[in-house]
């Protein structure tokens, strides 16, 4: 059963990538992969989460070196895992809060002025990613 959930996680991560690239080609830039990884932080154990994070970084890294942006991208799901272990809330609620805070952190670290200059793009990304992250959580939580 565990390996089925793990395989389901891999498939969902692949779907997140394909959707993200497809929406990006249409001019809608969302970070579904990060939302998925944060959702995974509430579903998988640490070793499995690290595997998923590294797999995502392997695909998403756009430079031959590990940049600050990639390090921030890697750390956020791990912090979400620590958050999950520290706060005894309902999984779906913790996931929602973690995605919300994770996205704010990502934007603040990588481009602090982006939220002010492009609030529409930021909130579109946030809303779509929140919905996707919660869907991922409920889908895998039931398997």
């Amino acid at each position: 059963m565990r390996s089925v959930t793990f395989l389901g996680g891999l498939i969902i991560l692949g779907i997140a990538f394909v959707l993200e690239f497809w929406l990006g080609s249409a001019g809608i830039h969302v970070v579904l992969v990060l939302a998925t990884l944060i959702g995974f932080a509430f579903l998988f154990d640490l070793a499995e989460l690290i595997f998923f994070v590294l797999f995502a970084v392997f695909i998403i890294n756009w430079q031959p070196t590990v940049s600050t942006g990639i390090i921030v991208f890697m750390v956020i799901p791990i912090v979400a895992y620590i958050f999950r272990k520290s706060v005894p809330w309902q999984g779906w609620l913790g996931n929602l809060i973690a995605i919300f805070l994770g996205f704010f952190l990502l934007y603040l670290f990588l481009s602090p002025t982006f939220i002010l200059l492009n609030p529409g793009a930021f909130f579109l990304d946030l809303v779509i990613s929140l919905a996707f992250g919660e869907a991922v959580f409920f889908l895998l939580n039931q398997s």
């Binding site: 565990r2 390996s3 692949g14 990538f17 394909v18 993200e20 690239f21 497809w22 990006g24 080609s25 001019g27 830039h29 970070v31 070793a47 499995e48 690290i50 595997f51 590294l54 797999f55 970084v57 392997f58 695909i59 998403i60 890294n61 756009w62 430079q63 031959p64 070196t65 590990v66 942006g69 990502l106 934007y107 990588l110 481009s111 982006f114 200059l117 492009n118 793009a121 930021f122 990304d125």
Partner: protein
């Protein structure tokens, strides 16, 4: 060994392999990403070639009308490069090409597609280079417009615009916009005027640009040396 322990060991080995691939063979990840993205071009190849050629010719004509006797006639040499991968998030617009310091790429040089300026080399690695495109929000570049060479400032972003144009400038849709940055070869075409409007402070004119290419469809570029 229990099933759980086996699962953990497999994970540990997979994590180590991924770590090695990320640090030493990132190109495998780019190939996997290219497979997952498989973008379709918004323009047909022939349309892109013709439109880009049209812009290049217009820029040449504008350049000759303004300072024809003062420019070098020999075209600069270029390095041909393929696009590896693109910045995946919202904040920047840049891509990685497969030519680096080993091939003679230098930071700050112009990057062209079909003779049209699409970006500037931002960072150079041994075998690759990072190119910041004109669609990057941080791009700000002096440009000129049309045969009269009206001065303007190109501001990057999802929809780049030429700003700080004098209100007395007689620009119209279809006028060529070309580079006038001292760090780049003069007269490189960038795009054409699409629409004009007055700036929010009512002091200048602004122009939106149309482009002869789809950035997402670019796979080969030329880097000036």
């Amino acid at each position: 060994m229990t099933s759980r322990k086996k699962h953990v060991w497999i994970l540990v080995i997979a994590i180590i392999i991924l770590g090695i691939l990320i640090l030493f063979k990132p190109s495998y990840g780019w190939q996997l990403r290219a497979f997952l993205s498989q973008n379709n071009n918004a323009f047909g190849t022939n349309d892109q070639n013709l439109a880009a050629e049209n812009e290049t010719l217009k820029a040449e004509l504008a350049k000759l009308q303004v300072i024809v006797s003062q420019l070098p006639t020999e075209p600069p040499s270029v390095i041909r490069a393929m696009v590896y991968t693109r910045y995946p998030l919202n904040f920047r617009n840049e891509f990685l090409v497969n030519a680096g310091s080993g091939e003679g790429v230098i930071q700050g040089k112009a990057v062209l597609f079909q003779g049209v300026l699409v970006g500037i080399v931002e960072k150079v690695f041994a075998d690759s280079a990072l190119v910041k495109t004109i669609f990057d929000p941080s791009i700000k570049m002096p440009v000129r417009i049309g045969g009269h060479g009206y001065d303007a400032l190109l501001i990057g972003g999802d929809y780049p615009k030429a700003s700080s144009i004098l209100k007395t400038a007689a620009i119209q849709s279809g006028d060529i916009i070309y580079a006038a940055d001292p760090t780049l070869p003069y007269g490189l075409p960038i795009g054409e005027v699409l629409t004009t409007s007055t700036s929010p402070d009512n002091l200048f004119e602004e122009a939106t640009l149309s482009f002869a290419y789809d950035l997402g469809g670019i796979e080969t570029v030329f880097i000036q040396t």
